[in-house]
């Protein structure tokens, strides 16, 4: 066994961990990062990036099929075919470039990367087992002054239908060997709907089972209505208010029970369980630290400090919202705190995006949240049907909505649904972080013709003088 020591030791090379490592190294802190798999974590390897790659591929295929059907644009094409193996290879190429890029960045900044699986010994000592069990190298013990826990999250399994065989998690669904004929998706959250849409566009029959009475239960119904309409138009079959009982005896169908107690079987060649993710707290000695927990998540304060001195935690391990950009911001902050700066994690908004078709984006407060907070708020909405650019993109479904204080017009939140609206999140969050008022956005010239004009028009409408509606 070999031993070494460092100042900052980071467990987990996902978006939180690798950003913390780069920032710490920039600040001159001797930093070691432990990663058992590829750097980049869930996001780069089995989450955000591969799913967006497949969403793009599926969208392109659907467009081509649309041309074959006879397009209003006058474009005609022959019936397209799909080589799924090549699609996956293309996606893997992107993932490989990005994870390779992260490795290069870590190296460039002088971060020491230790490949292997961490096992916590105590708050200042971690043992690393080689990732390759047959490796000649033994375990390494690393001692540190600061320990940063960034172990991320894992997909939640259903007790009635554990992973294995036809039952897969998002990880497997992102690397399909073939497109199943019949796919049953359990969970109508953003992961289930993003992948369900992909598989529908790739040609599968898709059934989505959801226990709640509507899709995307975390978002308000106005926002999800265009997504619902689109799913129905695509032919995705929704089974709302249905609970999953498990596979049938033959293992080729999912048994569900509706709210009225009626049971049914949904034939499935593949079952994607996407019922959520939970902090990865098991199997790496975390329990030895006996940290205060917040449910299943590690409890942290506004500095991402755990209940143990000089032990920090960021990202999915610390619970909702489980978003890569939150983890990155936390990681950067913890590195600066370790370097002696005074920082607290106090963003005005953490935006969230669903890459469904159409996309949904939220930043800051929705109308309901403002009401709950007891704020007298105004809300205004501008439909993409009145936006020239949207018409030219054949995607006029959806709208932009703003929530602002009635008294001083301070913008509290933005929501949008529509094709490509994820890119509006930058404008939304920036206006909220800067403390913009409706007048600030209304008074900013937005380029014509763009979808972004809808943002300005929304602010104008909230002020009572929209120009184009």
């Amino acid at each position: 066994m070999t031993a070494q020591s460092t100042t900052l030791l980071i467990i987990g090379g996902g978006p939180g961990g690798y950003v913390a490592a780069i920032r710490a190294a920039q600040l001159g802190i001797p930093t070691t990062l432990i990663e058992g798999a590829q750097p980049g974590g869930t996001c780069l390897n089995i989450g955000c990036i591969p799913s967006k790659a497949l969403i793009h591929a599926a969208h392109e295929l659907e467009k081509a099929r649309h041309y074959a059907d006879g397009s209003a644009l006058g474009i005609k094409a022959a019936d397209p075919t799909l080589d799924i193996a090549q699609t996956v290879q293309w996606k893997n190429g992107i993932v490989g470039r990005l994870t390779g890029g992260v490795s290069a960045l870590l190296k460039k900044h002088g971060v020491q990367v230790v490949r292997g699986w961490a096992e916590i010994v105590d708050g200042k000592t971690v043992e690393v087992r080689p990732a390759d069990a047959g490796s000649a190298e033994g375990a390494t013990t690393i001692r540190c002054e600061h320990l940063l826990l960034a172990a991320g999250s894992e997909a939640v399994a259903l007790p009635s239908m554990p992973f294995g065989g036809r039952v897969v998690s998002s990880t497997e669904a992102l690397s399909p060997m073939e497109v199943p004929k019949r796919l049953v998706v359990v969970g109508a959250g953003y992961i289930g709907l993003e992948l369900g849409t992909v598989y529908r566009k790739l040609g599968a029959q898709v059934h989505v089972v959801e226990a709640a009475d509507r899709i995307l239960p975390a978002y308000d119904p106005d926002l999800t209505r265009p997504v619902l309409a689109s799913l129905q138009k695509m032919g995705v079959v929704l089974h709302l208010q249905n609970t999953v009982l498990g596979l049938n005896a033959q293992g080729d169908a999912v048994r569900v029970r509706a709210a009225d107690g009626q049971e049914a079987e949904l034939g499935a060649d593949q079952v994607l369980v996407a019922v959520g993710r939970r902090p990865r707290t098991q199997g790496w000695g975390l329990e030895k630290l006996m940290l205060d927990m917040d449910g299943r998540a590690v409890q942290i304060d506004e500095r991402c400090h755990t209940s143990m001195r000089n032990v920090w935690a960021i990202g999915d391990l610390t619970g909702e919202p489980m978003l890569a950009h939150r983890a990155m911001a936390q990681g950067e902050m913890v590195a600066e705190i370790v370097a002696g700066k005074r920082r607290v994690f106090s963003p005005a908004s953490i935006p969230a995006v669903c890459f469904t078709d159409p996309e949904v984006v939220v930043s800051g407060m929705g109308p309901g949240e403002a009401q709950q907070a007891g704020i007298d708020a105004v809300t205004a909405l501008f439909p993409f049907a009145a936006n020239g650019r949207a018409m030219t993109l054949e995607s006029t479904d959806g709208f932009v909505r703003v929530v602002a204080r009635r008294d001083n017009h301070l913008i509290l939140g933005w929501q949008a649904v529509g094709a490509g609206v994820s890119e509006l999140s930058a404008a939304f969050s920036q206006s909220i972080e800067m403390g913009a008022r409706l007048e600030d956005v209304a008074g900013t010239i937005h380029a014509h013709p763009t979808l972004g004009e809808a943002v300005q028009e929304t602010a104008l409408r909230a002020l009572g003088h929209a120009l184009h509606i």
Binding site: R342, N408, L410, G435
Partner: protein
């Protein structure tokens, strides 16, 4: 749901009004039975008012510093069941406001410099005071914190409608761009205390500049100004609670009593020798003696010859009451301020009993556990600053008494005795008398008698 009104309790015999010195709850708080609601004060005793019921605070009957009549509405609670109030309107009329300027802690009463303070946040100034003064010892402490609370409590009532986004409500998150937030963090500035100039309460870089220029709390390392930087902070310290009592009594004493001060030098060499021997012999069994019990004994004996200095002068009635008993006030410094516990019947106590009682009284005063009758009724007072005694002081008479004796520092000095220079332990006694009823000659003679006792300590024990 009903309303339960708790009235200001009658906490002392014949006391008609009491001062509210601290709130332990705020409107909206859930309170349990026996939970402390407020501290109120009469004379020099502080009394805690607990809640007799379980409920939620609806409104407070006054601000910290208000003098309220006994029986006035102290607090209004929302309780399960009927409560004790038949939807009666609040009775703020019972609140007696004294010194409106000091008592009404509206947010605007705080000192605000000119400049871009279009929208001064309510907690700004009081919070700064807490920060700067909370550790400055006896002067302020609790009082400041109370003022802070009072300001927060009254802010919702007094703040103008935030049409122009003027004021941040207490507890509201400050609004600032990420760059401003980061700069504030680097400079150790808490944005909650920075006045915002934005129409919606946004704090700008210019606001931070103004805050730092105003002497805002931008210390702590990062941004320490040069040693000769101009400092422009002002910190209004409300005079409430014990401090106000002290102020009133001092004012009363100096306004009513024409003070006559007299300083005499005392050779305490022999007294110290005696004290040393007593402590060597009895120190273990009876406790160590300080100079104080010996001085008390000397005064007890001296006032027998000069009863006019062991007296209280009711100047309105025109009567000086002389006392056979000597109730010796002993001035003591506490965290809350100056207090004068009373050693009753000092004439009946030997040195060690008197030392033990003084120690107990001083401890009780320091811990705030002193009873009201232990701080009243003194007939003459001793004031000692111990090692800080200095050469001369001009003590202020504890009205309505007529005399006070201050002890100055004891030092060894060269003194001519029988033509040769010898080292003697010398100590000054600085005394003040009410010149209306004590003539200068009698005062001087009284001190000379005290001096004679101290310089020949055997006489302290001769009957």
């Amino acid at each position: 749901m009903g309303i339960h009104i708790i009235k200001m309790p009658d906490i002392g015999e014949g006391i008609a009004e009491v001062e509210l010195v601290e709130w332990h709850v705020q409107p909206g708080d859930q309170v349990s039975e026996d939970q402390l609601l407020a501290d109120v004060m009469t004379d020099k005793a502080t009394v805690e008012v607990p809640s007799p019921v379980v409920g939620k605070v609806v409104s407070l009957g006054g601000n910290v510093g208000d003098v309220m009549a006994v029986g006035a509405e102290l607090i209004r609670l929302e309780v399960d069941g009927a409560g004790n109030a038949a939807a009666a309107p609040a009775m703020p009329a019972a609140t007696v406001q004294r010194d409106a300027s000091a008592d009404a802690p509206t947010p605007r009463a705080a000192p605000q410099e000119t400049g871009p303070v279009v929208s001064a946040p309510a907690p700004s100034a009081p919070a700064a005071m807490t920060r700067n003064l909370s550790q400055s010892g006896p002067e302020s402490g609790a009082g400041i914190a109370q003022r802070d609370q009072a300001a927060s409590a009254s802010a919702p009532k007094t703040a103008p409608a935030p049409a122009a986004g003027a004021l941040r409500q207490p507890g509201e998150k400050p609004l600032a761009s990420p760059a401003v937030r980061q700069r504030a963090a680097d400079q150790g500035i808490d944005l909650r205390y920075v006045a915002a100039s934005g129409k919606a309460g946004q704090i700008t870089h210019a606001d931070l500049d103004a805050h730092v220029a105003r002497g805002g709390p931008a210390q702590a390392g990062a941004q320490q100004g040069p040693a000769y930087a101009e400092r422009n902070g002002e910190h209004a310290v409300p005079v409430i609670g014990l401090r106000r009592k002290i102020a009133q009594k001092m004012q009363e004493s100096k306004r009513r009593i024409p003070h006559f001060s007299y300083v005499e030098e005392v050779d305490v060499t022999e007294l110290e020798a005696l004290r040393g021997k007593l402590n060597a012999r009895f120190g273990d069994s009876r406790g160590k003696l300080t100079l104080l019990p010996l001085l008390i004994r000397a005064i007890v004996l001296a006032v027998r010859e000069f009863p006019q200095v062991n007296a209280r002068f009711d100047d309105e009635a025109g009567v000086v009451t002389q006392y056979d008993a000597v109730h010796m006030g002993v001035a003591a410094q506490t965290d809350a301020g100056l207090m004068v516990p009373v050693l009753r019947h000092a004439e009946a106590l030997d040195l060690w009993s008197s030392a033990a009682r003084v120690a107990r009284l001083a401890e009780a005063a320091r811990t705030g556990k002193i009873a009201r009758d232990e701080v009243a009724g003194s007939t003459i007072t001793i004031s000692s600053l111990g090692a800080l005694g200095g050469i001369v002081s001009t003590p202020v008479i504890n009205y309505p008494e007529v005399a006070i004796v201050g002890i100055n520092r004891m030092v060894e000095r060269p003194v001519i005795v029988n033509g040769s220079i010898v080292a003697r332990k010398m100590m000054n006694l600085s005394s003040s008398f009410d010149h209306r009823v004590v003539d200068g000659m009698h005062a001087a003679e009284f001190i000379q008698v005290v001096r004679a006792y101290l310089e020949c300590p055997a006489t302290l024990f001769v009957e």
